[in-house]
């Protein structure tokens, strides 16, 4: 029972740390997309900015779900 608790806590910590790193990666990626959309203005620019924000929202959603679960 004690082993199970330690294991559970370790897995939770590991997942949360992974997701926080993932969140940082997502922020850098979103910034890069904004920069490139500024450098090259195409018809898809608005759509790509939205997609980058949705992607960030997904990462935050999964992070929240992992913490709650």
């Amino acid at each position: 029972m004690e082993t199970e608790t330690i294991f559970t806590v370790l897995v939770k910590i590991f997942i949360v740390i992974m997701l926080i790193i993932y969140l940082l990666v997502g922020i850098i990626m979103t910034k890069q997309i904004f920069l490139m959309n500024k450098a090259i203005k195409t018809k898809l620019a608005g759509f790509l900015n939205c997609a980058a924000l949705i992607h960030m929202a997904l990462i935050l959603g999964v992070l929240a779900f992992a913490i709650v679960a």
Binding site: L19, I33, M36, A39, I40, K41, L48, V62, F65, A66
Partner: protein, 204 residues
């Protein structure tokens, strides 16, 4: 109609536009940050769409793996939850992270293709290099600096789908521009050289 416009019409006779296309001729609603007031984009090139097959197939396989694993373990009736009796919520979180990773990978693959573009304008050739979280690099050279262009088509798929590399030698500081895996490399090489000649014939 001026001689220059006539010659340009003979080099690029028709417009070929498309939001997600690997070759766009005389694109509309396309601008870039360092564009000069009278600068017009003649050709926009991306890698051939088939060059994305690697990450697309990789993602399809990675998307199927958890499902296959789940079905096999279910079929074998294995107690894969083990002694730790992993809760269903853990499996759900793991699945969410896995598919989030796949979404990111697909998005990055698409962006890598979409933003790595080569532009040929009435003044210069510009090479935009982009990586989703590492760097972005922009190189350019004047059309009049182009010395010669070489095309190369190597491999089974490039032969079938007609794509390949075009190497542009320049007299500028950066000696070579590489247009990698572009559609119809012969056409690209020919048009670049024709546009170079046009610029040299009709100086600003």
């Amino acid at each position: 109609m001026t001689h220059r416009t006539e010659t340009l019409n003979s080099i690029l006779p028709e417009q070929k536009d498309g939001t997600i296309s690997s070759v766009v001729v005389l694109p509309e609603r396309m601008e870039f940050e360092t564009q000069n007031p009278n600068e017009q984009v003649y050709i926009l090139l991306r890698r051939h769409i088939f060059s994305n097959i690697g990450w697309v197939l990789g993602n399809v396989i990675l998307a199927v793996i958890p499902l296959v694993l789940f079905i096999i373990l279910n079929w074998l009736s294995m107690d894969f939850l083990g002694d730790f009796s992993i809760k269903m919520s853990y499996i759900l979180v793991a699945a969410c992270i896995w598919y989030l990773f796949l979404i990111t990978r697909s998005f990055m693959g698409f962006l890598d293709w979409y933003f790595n573009i080569y532009l040929v304008t009435n003044e210069r050739v510009i090479d935009f290099d982009f990586n989703a979280f590492a760097y972005h690099k922009i190189s350019e050279t004047g059309l009049e600096n182009i010395v010669d262009a070489t095309q190369e088509t190597i491999g089974f798929f490039p032969m079938i789908f007609n794509y390949g590399d075009v190497y542009i030698q320049t007299a500028g500081e950066r000696r070579e521009f590489d247009f990698l895996a572009v559609t119809n490399p012969s056409w690209v090489r020919d048009k670049i050289m024709d546009l170079r000649d046009l610029v040299k014939e009709t100086p600003k």
